[in-house]
């Protein structure tokens, strides 16, 4: 215990110091050889990864297990800002099953991305900056998951946002990258505002930020009940629900749930490894993590919100999956796939129960499980996509085809990951997704139907992607320069991640999640529901089969189908015009309407009034100039009238 307590600061401090070091002197020190910066970063992260693994292992197998449930440890908690005696923002380190798991996810993916970037980003201008920001991101993400209080989470929440911004705008000369970065930041910030308001409401009624206090459960309900929050209504709604919904909105923003999803596809403007890390594996699941972290509150005090989350998730997953079927930019397909998969996780949480008796909290487990597996295979997919893009210098499917011959490692790892995401056993995705479906089935048949359909769609579009990249037709462009296999430092991460994807079903690994990661932190044993499992496998296979038919070889069937479903196809390929609606609202209404109007009002009415005062004085001055006419007798007349008027006034006063 003491060891992990002592080690834990490293996880936060090292990446931060790395960020400062690389950020402040990276450019100067490593001007001639930027790679050193990359190596330093990677080395630092390896240390972090080792420590994270050590802590996670120690926690899960040595220290964490309490009498019946896993304990929540606060390893350290430094007062950072004291608002009132109770409302204190601390920077601390909370160790519990989900944060320990997240440590593993983050450090793994991050380390892989660090290694991968050594190759991928080689020779880019701003290499040092890139590594600095990666470190910053790792720091922020770590801080987020180990937060001991909701405000700490918010702090790191913002920091991941900014590192996402910095990474998306890495190619800041490209206007599209800048626009995407702005969009990502502003949209998530907009959601963060709700998060903040949620925090404010929550803290106002509970008078604490502390997760331990907020999420404490006793006697079958959250202890929040004991605060004045209980029963407080605002406009007919319970304030708890409002607060928790607002907090969810924050999570929805980061996790790109509808309608905040618009930033994520554009965020692919950033370097691909960064997308893998931030926009596929880690940051985007922060919303899921947030809901999981606050799960007891949602479950006991705001169950209505949980239902809403479920439907939003289901809708988003369907919505994103449909769009993914029509996109031709491979990173965008992956992005929509990410949205869809994260939505899965939300659905899983929404259909979960709290206790581990009778597998009631299966959804929770599945959600975290899917988070874990998704992080691995999605990172793998992204990194693979990176290799491909590296090879063909394009994101467009049309520039690809038949690449399996040139890039076998990328091909294999990509295929493994695709199978995983499609839900084909024995790859990791199958298990996690299957448990989600089981949970949904037991909870809400509509959700189940929807999610099962999405599973099919997922299989379809992932294999559409796979076939378009690796099979399909020979691409004439390849004649000019032959795509080649990526260097080793890029391939190793692919392999490592696909290994993670392959082996999570092993005997030892399989019971890990139900045993250790549950809502009430009490483990249980999972029994596979074979009917649903087979059903989902079938759905997946059908999806793959359709993709096989349509995309294995170049043919005109896809176009034909697209022609038949013209309306749907066009609107889906335009992402259902959500971006346009946003653009209209922001450009036309907020900028063109409100901002311009206010600015005009300010210049002409408010300032105009001040100028009017000045103008009146000046005009008055000119208007009365003739009073001083120069005529002696008029002076006397003024004198006389003055005397009479004043006397009259004074007498009548």
């Amino acid at each position: 215990m003491e060891t992990i307590t002592n080690l834990s600061p490293i996880i936060l401090a090292l990446p931060f110091l790395m960020f400062l070091f690389l950020g402040l002197c990276g450019n100067k020190l490593f001007k001639s050889n930027p790679n050193i910066a990359g190596w330093i970063g990677t080395a630092g992260l390896s240390v972090v990864a080792i420590v994270s693994y050590y802590i996670a292992i120690q926690y899960f197998w040595v220290e964490g297990k309490g009498a019946d449930a896993y304990q929540q440890f606060v390893l350290f908690n430094h007062e950072w800002l004291k608002m009132t005696d109770n409302l204190v923002i601390s920077i601390g380190f909370m160790l519990d099953p989900i944060s320990a798991m997240m440590l593993v996810v983050i450090s793994t993916v991050s380390l892989m991305v660090h290694i991968y970037s050594l190759g991928y980003m080689h020779g880019e201008e701003g290499f040092q900056r890139y590594y600095a920001v990666l470190s910053l991101f790792t720091f922020a993400m770590m801080g987020l998951v180990v937060a001991t209080n909701i405000f700490q989470m918010y702090i790191f929440w913002e920091l991941v946002g900014v590192s996402s911004f910095l990474l998306i705008s890495f190619y800041f000369i490209k206007p599209s990258a800048v626009a995407a970065a702005k969009k990502a930041f502003i949209v998530t910030r907009f959601a963060d505002m709700f998060f903040l308001i949620g925090i404010l409401i929550l803290s106002y009624y509970t008078n604490t930020f502390d997760f331990l206090k907020l999420t404490a459960v006793s006697d079958g309900h959250a202890t929040l009940v004991n605060t004045k929050m209980c029963g407080e209504m605002f406009m007919g709604l319970s304030v708890t629900s409002i607060a928790m919904f607002l907090i969810f909105l924050g999570g929805a923003g980061k996790s790109a749930m509808f309608p905040f999803h618009i930033w994520l596809p554009d965020a692919m403007e950033g370097p691909t490894p960064a997308s893998a890390l931030i926009h596929a594996a880690t940051m985007v699941v922060a919303g899921v993590f947030l809901v999981a972290r606050m799960f007891p509150v949602y479950f006991f005090e705001a169950h209505d919100v949980l239902t809403i989350i479920g439907y939003i998730g289901a809708f988003t997953s369907l919505f994103a999956a449909i769009i993914a079927c029509t996109q031709t930019d491979i990173k965008r397909v992956l992005a929509f796939s990410t949205i869809s998969q994260i939505a899965y996780m939300f659905v899983a949480l929404a259909v979960s129960g709290y206790t581990s008796e009778h597998e009631a909290c299966l959804g929770y487990t599945a959600s975290m499980w899917h988070l874990f597996t998704h992080a691995m295979f999605k990172a793998c997919l992204f990194l693979g996509a990176g290799c491909i893009i590296h090879a063909v210098h394009s994101n467009e499917m049309n520039a690809m085809g038949n690449l399996r011959k040139f890039m076998p490692i990328a091909h294999i790892t990509f295929l493994v990951s695709c199978l995983a995401i499609a839900g084909i056993p024995p790859f990791s995705g199958f298990f996690s997704k299957d448990e989600i479906l089981v949970a949904a089935f037991e909870h809400d048949k509509v959700l189940y139907a929807c999610q099962a359909f999405v599973a099919g769609l997922t299989a379809f579009y992932m294999f559409r992607l796979y076939f378009r990249i690796f099979w399909y037709s020979e691409n004439p462009a390849h004649a000019h320069h032959t795509p080649h296999e990526a260097p080793m430092n890029m391939n190793i991460p692919l392999i490592v991640l696909s290994v993670f994807t392959c082996f999570t079903w092993l005997d030892k690994v399989f019971p890990f999640f139900p045993e250790k990661i549950t809502a009430d932190r009490v483990g249980y044993e999972l029994e596979t529901n074979w009917i649903i499992a087979i059903a989902s496998i079938l759905v997946a296979v059908v999806g793959i089969a359709i993709a096989w038919v349509l995309y294995l070889k170049k043919n005109d069937k896809p176009d034909m189908i697209a022609g038949k479903l013209k309306c749907l196809y066009i609107s889906a390929s335009h992402r259902f015009y959500i971006d346009e609606i946003y653009l209209f609202i922001t450009r036309k209404i907020i900028f063109g309407g409100i901002c311009v109007a206010i600015a005009w009002f300010d210049r002409h009415i408010i300032d105009g009034f001040m100028n009017l005062l000045a103008w009146i004085s000046r005009e008055l001055s000119y208007d009365i100039r003739d009073v001083q006419s120069g005529n002696l007798q008029q002076y006397a007349w003024g004198f006389l009238v003055g005397v009479l008027a004043i006397a009259m006034f004074a007498i009548n006063y």
Partner: protein, 186 residues
């Protein structure tokens, strides 16, 4: 004043004192008005002379002979002569007729009228109480008393003012000279 008008004994109006007063007042007012209204300046000066004379007469009826004398000598003998000199000095001034626009006259007239009415109203609200000794022969001021008042340093004696005004007069002489002598340089 209203009370006063109702209480007039019209029969007793025509005493010698009253008739003299009326005549003097009429001269003062009519000539005064003519002096501001006549179009020729020399005539105006003549009317002014009558007015000043009548004022002196008024002082005499009040048995303040000394003031009457001073009025005659300083005003009629000094100031008016100065004015007439000035009129003569300025080319054509004595013979020019000046025309004043009716607008000016109306505005000025109305203002002055308003002032008069206003002054009458304010005065009418005040009760002037004539002193017991007002009718006495004691009201007659002899020269010795005037001299003592002017030369004394006590209360109601005005040596200081007398001395002060000498400075004023001296300054005015110098001032007049400084303005007058300037012509040599021009």
């Amino acid at each position: 004043m209203a009370e006063y008008l109702t209480s007039i004994d019209f029969a007793g109006l025509f005493t010698a004192d009253n008739i003299v007063f009326f005549i003097l007042s009429a001269v003062i007012l009519v000539c005064g008005f003519m002096s501001v209204a006549s179009t020729k300046l020399l005539r105006a000066a003549t009317y002014l002379f009558f007015t000043l004379f009548a004022v002196a007469g008024l002082y005499l009826t009040l048995s303040y002979e000394f003031i009457a004398a001073v009025q005659l000598s300083v005003y009629a003998g000094g100031i008016l002569v100065l004015l007439i000199f000035a009129i003569m000095l300025v080319k054509n001034l004595g013979t020019d007729t000046e025309t004043i626009s009716y607008v000016n006259k109306t505005i000025a007239g109305l203002s002055a009228l308003a002032g008069t009415v206003f002054a009458f109203i304010t005065m009418s609200k005040f009760r002037f109480i004539s002193s017991e000794g007002a009718n006495d022969a004691a009201a007659k001021v002899d020269m010795e008393m005037v001299g003592q008042t002017l030369m004394g340093t006590d209360r109601y004696q005005y040596l200081l003012a007398f001395e002060a005004v000498s400075i004023l007069l001296l300054a005015c002489i110098v001032g007049s000279i400084v303005i007058a002598t300037k012509s040599k340089e021009d």
